[in-house]
Symmetry: D2
Subunit: 143 residues, 4 copies
């Protein structure tokens, strides 16, 4: 064990009726809500709830989002969303996601989101030093 447990976070979620479409599978746009919940819990687990970032007047809006659907997640299926911090610079954050079967660990969906830093008035800003340093501990803790 070398601290690798910090390199990713697992978020469990189960497909609701509300999440699924007439094919009986999770609607493709819904995965972005799971990604959101997954990265929020990741930040919380590292000691920095997203809400606290916002309280400091900083938001991390999504500037790019991508998803690749390999296998469907069906109604009532339980999966884990694995979140990885790919990159954190002073101007943006890049997170990767994999949706894995709870039982079989097979990849259902993979994707990413890219975020920038925005001040209370909606202007893009560079990451404040403390936030930037915090994000980098997510890497350094693994080395």
């Amino acid at each position: 064990m070398n601290g690798d447990e910090n390199r990713y976070h697992l978020y469990s979620v189960r497909a609701r009726y509300a999440d699924t479409d007439p094919m009986g599978i999770v609607y493709h746009g819904r995965y972005f809500e799971w990604f959101e919940a997954a990265r929020t819990e990741y930040l919380r687990s590292m000691g920095l709830p997203y809400k606290r970032i916002e309280e400091q007047g900083i938001s991390l809006p999504v500037v790019e989002a991508y998803c690749r659907y390999r296998r469907p997640v069906v109604y009532d299926e339980s999966v884990r969303v694995k979140t990885v911090l790919k990159e954190a610079s002073r101007s943006r954050i890049h997170l990767g996601y994999e949706v894995l079967g709870e039982e079989d660990d097979i990849v259902r969906v993979e994707g990413y989101t890219i975020h920038c830093y925005v001040s209370r008035n909606g202007r893009p800003i560079r990451a404040p030093k403390e936030l930037f340093d915090f994000l980098n501990t997510l890497f350094s803790s693994t080395e």
Copy 2:
């Protein structure tokens, strides 16, 4: 023509894949989004966009919501949501809705929402006179 056209408003909407569930019918919770869109267009058609009410520091949060599902709306079906102002007092607004088949005019779903008036700090308030008077024109114009 006796002004009855003011007593209700019709909002057309079509069931998306995103709205429907594994039974191929609109998810029961989604109708409240249609009701929201319907009442928003009703207010706009009467000359008072909801956004303008909010700009004056007043919100109309939902305090009660109800739906009765008579017949399913299936994927890609086109329906009209009929909105009626049932009651507008100084403390609350009561709106009724019917979801009608575009072709057959048969009721699919009916429901209501009750709203109170809230100030910018989230406290319930009595309706300002101008707003109250406006809402009452929706009745008076029909008599």
Copy 3:
């Protein structure tokens, strides 16, 4: 211990960004998704996943849904949805819900859903004996 643990079920959920609206509170229509997840976990905890009911050719569509909003649930707030089986007859099921603050146990929202029994072809049916008996064990176990 008198079996009271069977009279209700608690489902924990946290408000996502996707669940909340410009007021920073959970959108009123979203609670019905939480109610759905809550009753699904209730059935599962009692040994009868909803999915298995469907596999037997029976669906339990919502025929009525109601919600009363007492206090808002804000972004990132953690709550528990308490589900109670109010009534189960051969023709319908009535479930009640309370959304309670995780910390303070204060009621945020309360509501109910009423379901009927429907066969694979979409026709209302009377509850099969085994399902009816199962639902009634949820009561009897508390006496």
Copy 4:
């Protein structure tokens, strides 16, 4: 006029409260629902409702989805989603989207979806000739 009107389709939509988040802007995952509605209306306008494709036993599930968020769409803002068929081969369809301000025509969001052809049993198939030919008329009509 050279038939260019076939190269794209415009779908009008207005941001609901249900679509927006605590920042008062449309939630990033919601745009995929607008893309879905936009491509559905595009197909319908060309004479081939998606529902009819499904009735022939063919589905077009999303295998990749991407979005780039340039400027936020705020609550109650009215926009047009411009859909363009980028590519249609025997194995996949590639559609591009732009969300444009109703008034200013400025790009808010752009993205794409890639779809494959799937038979009723969920297996990827090659596009049937008629469907493939139809999709190609969307190009040929512009030349």
